[in-house]
């Protein structure tokens, strides 16, 4: 482990390299371009390749193809490009392809404000594409978190054979901070499960006990079938309800069952509080000092940070929140994660208190948003 001083985007790039990234496909877009530029410089010396494609559609599809050729693949973008990746993300869901998609949120809708951050795209991360699915979404709040959660994103993608969205924003992307960088061997790096049977016995979509099928890749003699249509365990197209139900149930259930591994929350003073503030990402960064200041003034208020936005460990979240009389959700949007928190919080009274701003949220703004409901 060594200390460095890096930006959020560079931390993601460094962590991706440590995780074994070998293929990066992307299309320039603020505030994600510098991540690609940094990787373009560095990745070739690690035996990897960075390609600028003609658009984000090509980028996500190429990353999926690379993953099927047996390497770890990633792409990064922001709202407009992420929208173009929708169909590709659904292909990765259906074909159970490990791939990491980094979305550096900027202000939307449409072209929005390229250089400014909001949290307006959290539902885009959750349900970007068509189809009935669940994919993991992580929301870092610091440069260190960008680093650690990138490693986690790759691990989750490989372990569960799923696309993973790492949801940063323009504030964190271009924030420079002290960072603990890990050396190879200092952190667990997970690789996808390989088939243990010979090609004749291999059924490409037959799951193990964890509901995740072992993954043979191209060129190993397994005659792999990558199938975008609804398919059975062999990868053969089926149009019946039974196959459809089985496939959809498993795609969702494998993630739900993995929630213990995927989900993380951080609690500060939650135990003894009458009110708990829930936040995530760059907004959470300012909620933390606000709650601390309130406590110093004697308020019995706690803070819960969601590191994983989806899937939520509802049981764990409920246990943390139901003790409090009040739950206040602070987001830089018109109320997205709030909908889930309100549903899960049980008997607590829930309040949504937006801090909508394209600049890093200020102490006073957040203080006002929290204090209003205490």
């Amino acid at each position: 482990m060594r200390r460095e001083f890096l930006s959020g985007n560079r931390a993601i790039a460094e962590a991706a390299i440590l995780s074994g990234l070998k293929f990066y496909a992307g299309y320039p877009i603020t505030p994600a371009s510098d991540l690609m530029e940094y990787l373009a410089e560095k990745l070739p010396s690690y035996g990897g390749i960075v390609v600028q494609f003609e658009d984000e559609i090509a980028s996500i599809n190429a990353a999926i193809g690379a993953s099927w050729a047996g390497v770890k693949a990633m792409t990064a973008t922001s709202g407009p490009g992420f929208s173009l990746m929708a169909e590709g993300v659904s292909l990765a869901v259906a074909t159970e392809t490990p791939v990491v998609v980094v979305d550096i949120m900027r202000a939307g809708p449409s072209t929005g404000i390229p250089t400014k951050a909001t949290q307006s795209d959290v539902y885009q991360a959750r349900w970007l594409a068509h189809g009935d699915y669940t994919i993991p979404v992580f929301a870092p709040w610091s440069v260190q978190d960008c680093y650690d959660m990138t490693i986690k994103s790759f691990n989750v993608a490989e372990k569960f054979r799923t696309p993973v969205v790492l949801l940063s924003d323009a504030n964190i992307a271009h924030m420079w901070e002290t960072l603990y960088v890990r050396e190879p061997g200092e952190v667990e790096i997970i690789e996808r499960k390989k088939p243990s049977v010979p090609p004749e016995e291999y059924r490409p979509y037959q799951p193990g006990l964890d509901l995740v099928p072992p993954m043979a890749v191209f060129g190993e003699g397994y005659k792999v079938i990558v199938e975008s249509l609804v398919h059975d365990e062999l990868g053969y197209y089926r149009q019946d309800s039974v196959t459809y139900r089985e496939m959809i149930a498993r795609l969702n259930e494998k993630i739900r069952r993995g929630v213990g591994y995927i989900y993380e929350q951080e609690e500060y003073w939650v135990e003894d509080s009458d009110a708990v503030v829930v936040a995530y990402g760059s907004t959470a960064r300012m909620v933390y000092p606000v709650v601390k200041a309130l406590r110093q003034k004697g308020a019995r208020v706690g803070f819960l940070r969601l590191k994983t936005l989806w899937p939520l460990d509802e049981e764990r979240l409920w246990r943390a929140l139901s003790r409090a009389g009040k739950v206040i959700v602070v987001e830089n949007n018109t109320g997205r994660v709030y909908l889930d928190v309100a549903r899960i919080a049980g008997s607590a009274r829930t309040f949504f208190s937006p801090v909508i701003t394209v600049d890093p949220p200020k102490f006073n703004e957040v203080m006002e948003a929290v204090a209003r409901w205490l």
Binding site: E4, F5, M175, W176, T178, L179, P360, F363
Partner: protein, 179 residues
């Protein structure tokens, strides 16, 4: 310890490099916790560039940092919005101003160090582009913020080898200016 530092200049003057250098040295060699944000106009040449940073003993003290409100050091390579930045300066703030681009009088109660850093870099080193390092050398001398040797290690790490010599020289030239 918790120091806020503000660096302002024109695109191309090496403002972002100064921020990254100070952050790297503080983080890596001095075990401080550093957090900073970069602001720049979309064009890389011209236009205001600004780095807001905080150097602190712990993560805790640096975490809620958004922008400089109470600067310990201000490095003004170019007089963009000079008056409004000077308003942030307190009596004990160290203000370094490149007079090459500002002929007028500067009114402040802060500890002001106003030199023609760029012109000095031109005259002493034949290279106006290292004015940022020359100024940093002076900052190091005056404020004792970072040890000179560590700054050199930082330069060696951040810059390509062929630029080391020129930047070391500029740093030393700044360090040799009167405190």
């Amino acid at each position: 310890m918790r120091h806020e530092i503000l660096i302002v200049g024109r695109g191309g003057q090496g403002v972002l490099l100064l921020g990254r250098l100070i952050g790297l040295v503080a983080s890596k060699y001095m075990n401080y916790y550093t957090s900073g944000t970069e602001h720049y106009a979309s064009e890389t040449r011209g236009g205001e560039s600004r780095v807001d940073m905080v150097i602190a003993d712990s993560l805790e003290e640096a975490f809620n940092f958004v922008s400089v409100t109470n600067p310990h050091i201000m490095i003004l390579l170019y007089p963009y919005n000079l008056d409004s930045y000077l308003k942030l300066a307190q009596r004990e703030t160290f203000v370094f101003l490149d007079k090459t681009f500002h002929q007028g009088e500067v009114r402040t109660e802060a500890k002001l160090y106003a030199h023609e850093y760029t012109r000095l870099a031109e005259r002493l080193l034949n290279n106006p582009r290292v004015a940022n390092m020359l100024l940093l050398g002076h900052v190091v001398k005056v404020t004792n913020l970072l040890p000179l040797d560590y700054v050199k290690m930082g330069i060696a790490e951040l810059l390509d080898k062929r630029y080391h010599e020129a930047n070391f020289k500029a740093l030393e030239a700044g360090f040799n200016l009167p405190a």
